[in-house]
Symmetry: none
Subunit: 521 residues, 2 copies
């Protein structure tokens, strides 16, 4: 079968999703992840629509991409000016990307009601807009907005819109199911009818309003589309966009279609999905196809003994192919093998029969019940293991702290002061510092002491900080889990703290982070 180009629009259509708002730094991080993973096109946003988007394109000019091309999004020109004079089309050109993706109307209802122009005029707008961008040296994709709805009402006109884009020189005609209401059989039937009348490659852009976006994209490919637009984890407005995290493995492993993504890259699919969810601060869906924590989880009994003999009996693919793993009902035995696996990873030599390992299995289960998670906080877990196996001495001991947040009038700033008492190598230090917030003040006070003894501490930067309430029925006295990501500019590590007191939970994660740095040097 033909190859397929993967076009990611997490940064544009994906961030229309409710609750998703990326900073410029988030956008750059995601673009780099997508490039590493191997997608062919990364749509970054609509130049001129917001300062964030323009900043992002400016920053991306200095980033060397290995696999992907940057794409700027936009609309066909306004009816009131020529393409040459259109502000937004010019902004696309100025953004410095090699590829543009512009959308135009293909449903006559929208031409009448939204644009309020003649059907003929819209065709001219499409053709001249695409042609202008091509003349400006860009590769151009045409997003045929509402194509399927338009085609069902007025097939001749919808097709004419595609032909106008083709005359303008569009390199892909992207059929958009903008409202997400099209059924799978309609996708196939409509593509079969129009394909022979067009010379240009077809693409698909599906929305998930009927929980069909993934299927509709695969069916479009089956009927000849060679370009698939979607987002990581299906993020997007309303019910989301087509989920590339589900589409890519089905294309590669089930259709046998090359998406310019190598097997080794596909094995990073789960990482990509989880990492983008973290950046978006969205809970990862444990039941997500291919990459969810439960996707290959088997409940006890018949299934388990069957998959132990032959995994093919109850698994449609090998989880490792997408970087996921088989999960079996937790038993002391499986807990133990996990620990041994981790010990090896940390470079710790330990006898499988060491009784302290059994304690550690027990302790891990208790902590898990309390709300600790070590998946994103492996540094905390390594410290826990080293302490249990007596392979680790604390570099310092916290004797106590006090932090005061004070607001002395309703228009006044909050003033924060922290004091800490720390023992380091038999000396006791008692210092104080101010800060922007309680954690900052505590951190500043602690650093005053530690920087003296351990200059390497000064390189630690907190790169991410996340808080989740664990048992919300208890209101403001609920347990909270804090996950911290730290970096010393070379490597980064995650730590965790849990407490009903947010300050203490953060403080625990922060102390782990510093201890980990001191351990690793």
């Amino acid at each position: 079968m033909h190859t397929v180009d993967i076009f990611d629009t997490t940064l544009r259509d994906g961030q229309q999703g409710k609750g998703i708002s990326f900073t410029v730094e988030d956008r750059v991080k995601i673009a780099k992840l997508l490039d590493q993973f191997g997608v062919k096109f990364i749509e970054g946003g609509w130049p001129g629509a917001s300062p964030k988007v323009d900043d992002f394109f400016a920053q991306m000019r200095d980033v060397k991409l290995k696999n992907a091309k940057m794409v700027a999004f936009g609309s066909t020109r306004r009816a009131s000016n020529s393409a040459e004079d259109d502000i937004f089309l010019n902004k696309i050109v100025e953004s410095g990307v090699p590829t543009a993706c512009i959308f135009g109307k293909t449903w006559d209802l929208h031409v009448h009601e939204a644009l309020k122009i003649s059907l003929e005029e819209n065709l001219d707008i499409i053709e001249t807009s695409v042609a202008f961008l091509r003349r400006s040296g860009l590769q151009v994709f045409f997003d045929a907005e509402h194509f399927f709805d338009g085609y069902k009402r007025n097939p001749e006109y919808a097709l004419n819109c595609l032909l106008a884009a083709e005359r303008g020189g569009a390199e892909v005609l992207v059929l958009c199911d903008t409202n997400g209401g099209t059924m799978p059989h309609e996708i196939g039937d409509i593509i079969d009818t129009i394909k022979p009348q067009l010379k240009t490659e077809l693409g698909i852009h599906a929305h998930n309003d009927c929980e069909l976006a993934v299927a509709n994209s695969l069916i479009a490919v089956r009927h000849g589309a060679s370009h698939v637009q979607g987002t990581v984890n299906g993020y997007g407005e309303r019910c989301g966009n087509a989920n590339l995290i589900s589409i890519i493995p089905s294309l590669k492993l089930k259709f046998g279609i090359d998406c310019h993504i190598e097997d080794a890259q596909l094995a990073r699919l789960s990482k990509l999905s989880h990492h983008v969810a973290e950046i978006a601060n969205m809970t990862h869906n444990a039941n997500q196809a291919y990459v969810g924590q439960n996707a290959f989880a088997h409940k006890g009994g018949v299934h388990v003994s069957a998959i132990m003999k032959n995994p093919e009996t109850y698994e449609h693919i090998r989880p490792e192919q997408v970087g996921n793993k088989q999960e079996v009902t937790v038993s002391d035995q499986s807990g133990m093998s996990n620990l041994l696996y981790k010990a090896e990873k940390f470079g710790i030599t330990v006898d499988a029969k060491d009784v302290r390992l059994k304690d550690l299995v027990q302790r891990t289960k208790e902590l898990d019940k309390l709300g600790f998670t070590f998946e994103e906080a492996e540094a905390s877990f390594e410290l826990l293991m080293r302490r249990k196996l007596e392979l680790f001495d604390r570099s310092f001991q916290l004797e106590g702290f006090r932090v005061i947040d004070e607001k002395r009038g309703h228009d006044e700033e909050v003033i924060v002061e922290a004091t800490v008492k720390v023992s380091v190598e038999d000396n006791i230090y008692h210092t104080a510092a101010e800060g922007e917030g309680p954690i900052d003040a505590l951190n500043n006070a602690l650093r005053k002491v530690l920087d003296r003894h351990y200059p390497e501490v000064s390189s630690i930067i907190l790169t991410d900080y996340k808080v989740r309430v664990l048992n919300s029925e208890k209101g403001t006295s609920s347990m909270v889990r804090v996950l911290i990501e730290s970096s010393d500019g070379k490597k980064s590590w995650g730590t965790v703290g849990v407490s009903p007191n947010l300050i203490e939970a953060t403080w625990k994660a922060l102390i782990d982070s510093i201890e980990y740095k001191l351990l690793k040097g």
Copy 2:
């Protein structure tokens, strides 16, 4: 087109989902909801597998169902005994249900590896098991386990299994995609091939391991299946089962197929979905097709002005058809039309030309840049709008606060004390309280004052709390965004606070939450 029978297995396959565990009372409640809604068959569980299931069937004997029939699940007989002597087949008969659904092996691999019997013997097991239940007066459906995987490896044998069930008298042959790995085109192709060779009605039972369960079910119907098995919200093992909440509206509204569910019943779809989620104690997916809170939420300014003119432009169905509603959200992409829509929703009368609205658009964009998001914090946005339009007086004014977190030894608990100074109706109050953490202490101190003046404040409970660092390059002095969800047991609302100080950000969101409650009463 033909009609379709909806077969719900939330109580059996759905409750295999991780984190889902129904009590007997839960099961009865769900069965009643499903019956009211209009599904044709309710599978209640495997008689004899657990006391809960047997209790449930016993209780259901006293419940008069209006639309549905109760179904008991089970397996074909054991190889070592006859159908008449099979304990579990007899338990099905004794459970008193009118309908049985039993599964059997149709993939030769499983016959060899799991059952360890001959292929011939398995055919006899299927036929005699079905026949026994029929002779016992039951309607019988046959779940052909792993049918598609089996058919792809050994089509002749898989078909022979269906023919054996047909000879036994099965009334529906349910094709199961047990591992969820089958692609949409395979479903259609395989059904087209086998259907002419069978006299019996076909059903479909799909799993969501490739995010295709809904599509595969619809495609099976398109190719002639007249019985669809699935669960509410797609609950089920691994990635879940086919989601009936998505399948039913597509069949009714898009395929025009009668599922024995009236329009008025379909209008209760959202309620059914939310209610079962509550019983299962699972967070309802806000992006869920048809019924999610965001399913008809519009963000972009262009979309909003279009749907206000004609909803068909950006909505594939009318949300009311499935008991959902239209929603417009506010962000940096939103323009005047979003604000006007919101004003109307809040019951605020305002002239579109009011200059204060322009200020508000501007202010919203500034706040968005600072890191405020109002999508999950509509209550904060309503307060902002009312303040801007001078429609709102503060009920109380915070004059100041101080909170002290203190840990006096490395094994000691953190002690937290907060003082607040608040003016209410010309009185100034100065109180103090302890708490589990700084927010809890501040909240406790504030409540001490407010409860006196506004007893309704005591009903507020914090139901969710999320923190996100906005510009992590600044380490512990970064800006943080706090999103709070509150509830008074009847309705819930979201508020937001942003500050470099976590305490202050939380405090702001908390104050907004209380002010909102006082505004709404």
